[in-house]
Symmetry: C2
Subunit: 263 residues, 2 copies
Amino acid sequence: MATGRTHRPATRSRGIPEATVARLPLYLRALTALSERSVPTVSSEELAAAAGVNSAKLRKDFSYLGSYGTRGVGYDVEYLVYQISRELGLTQDWPVVIVGIGNLGAALANYGGFASRGFRVAALIDADPSMAGKPVAGIPVQHTDELEEIIRENGVSIGVIATPAGAAQQVCDRLVAAGVSSILNFAPTVLSVPEGVDVRKVDLSIELQILAFHEQRKAGEEAAGEGADTTPPAAPPAAAVRRRAGGGTEQGPDGDVPAVMPA
Amino acid sequence: MATGRTHRPATRSRGIPEATVARLPLYLRALTALSERSVPTVSSEELAAAAGVNSAKLRKDFSYLGSYGTRGVGYDVEYLVYQISRELGLTQDWPVVIVGIGNLGAALANYGGFASRGFRVAALIDADPSMAGKPVAGIPVQHTDELEEIIRENGVSIGVIATPAGAAQQVCDRLVAAGVSSILNFAPTVLSVPEGVDVRKVDLSIELQILAFHEQRKAGEEAAGEGADTTPPAAPPAAAVRRRAGGGTEQGPDGDVPAVMPA
DNA sequence: TGTTGTGAATTCCTTCACAGCC
DNA sequence: GGCTGTGAAGGAATTCACAACA
C-alpha cells in the first residue's frame, strides 16, 4: 500500500508488523474518544468493537507493543493512548508541507485532524504565481520557487503531494532533494524515490474501482445463483473498449492530470 | 482496508484474491498510459515496473483472470485493458452520489478521473440549505431531504461520504436504506453497515500517522545504530500526553468532526 | 471470575523457479 | 531465446484456544 518504487520488502519495522502499524491509528482514535468520555479502562472486546476489528487481532497487535493490559480488567485508556502515541511518533511535532493547493490541497489545509495529532502545516506551496500570498486556511500560499528554502528552514520531513499527476514526480524529486523522506501522494502516479524514502498513496479512483468490482459481483450472484460457473462470455480478442459514461467531465482517457485531485 | 463492521472474512470474491483486485486498477492505469502511446504489447517485466510491483506478482495476478498473454511476446495492451476493465466492472456505468459538499466533497466532484472510468456523479448532496441549487463542478447541489429520491431515481448503488464525522453514520444509514450497497467513506469514523454492504475507507490522518511511525524509526536508527535494543524508556504509568503542535487549527482533542475532511 | 497474552493452527499473500509454449 | 503461466516453497497476517494471572 505504500512505497512507490523502492521495493522495500515489507520490513517488520522494529519488530512491529506493518499490518499492526496500520491499525494503531484506528485504536488510537477509538481510545481518544473513550478518553474524552472519561472512560478509565476498556476491554479488548469493547475496544475492538469500537475500532471495527476483532478482539484477538487487537490483543495480538498490542502484544507487539508490550504488556500494557491487566488480566481480568482490561487496558488503562490514558496509558494506552500515551503508549500508542509514542510508538507512532505522535508525541513529537511533525511539520508538513502541502504542495498543490487546488480543491484538494485546500481541503487538506483546512483539515483539523492534522493539528490534533502532532502534524503542523508548515507551508502551502503552489506553482501558480497568482495564488502566492493568498491565504488558505489562514496560511499564505507560497510559490514553488521557495520550496527548498521552506523545507530546510522548517525542518520538514513529511510532504503531501496534491498536484496534478503530471507535476507529481518533479515535485517529489525536489522534495526529496531538499530533505523530505516521507511522502503522502494524492496524485495518480507511481512515484520513483530513492532508497530510504517512504511513499504512501491515497488514490480515490482505485477505491471506487474496487467497490465497483464487488458491486458487480453482488449483482452477478443475484442474477445467476443456479448452476455452472461464472466465467464471463469470452471477449473480443483485441478490441479495446472505452468507457461509456454518461455526462461528466472528460480530459483524456487516462493520463488524468486532473484539475487537482487524487486518482 | 474496507468493510466497516460486517466482519466479512475477506472473501476471495469469485476466486480472485482481494490483494489482486486491489492491484488491478494500478495495472489498468499503467496499461491505459501505454495504450495512449500506442504501445501494442508489453512484457510482465515492463508493465510491473510501470505499476510499481514485481513481475512475478503481476503474472500471478493476471493468471487469476485467465491466460491473456503470449509466451515469448508479452501481453496485448488493448486486450488487457479490456479484460481488466470488464473484470472490475468498469465497462458499465456507475452512478455515484457524493454526500457532504465541503472542501473535500467539492474536490471530489471536480475530479476528472471519475468520469474517465465509468463513474458518473449523479448528484451532490449537502445538509446545508444555503448550498441547495448552487452548482459545484457544474452540478447543482441538492438538499439531504431529497437523498432517498435521488438514490432511487438514478439507481445509485455507490455512495461517497464526505461529511463531518458526526453525520457520517446517519448518512450511511439513509444511503443503505435507500438501496446503496457500496460506500466510500472519507469521514473519520467506523461505519456500521448490515451484511452485504461494502465499505471502504480513506483516512488521511491514518496515512500520515503511518508515515510518522516510519519517519521516527529512521531517525532512531540514525541516532542509535550501535549496541543494545531499541526498547523505549518505560513511560509514565498513567499520564496522557497531548500533542504539542505549534500553530494550526484546533477543534477538540480528537472527536474530530472536522469542518469537512477525512480523518 | 474475567480478561489478557501468546503459542499453535490456519489462511492468505508473495516469491521462487522452471516447465511449457511462441 | 524469450516470456508467460503456475506448482511449490516461504513468509506474513489472522484466528483459535487456552494457560496465566490480577
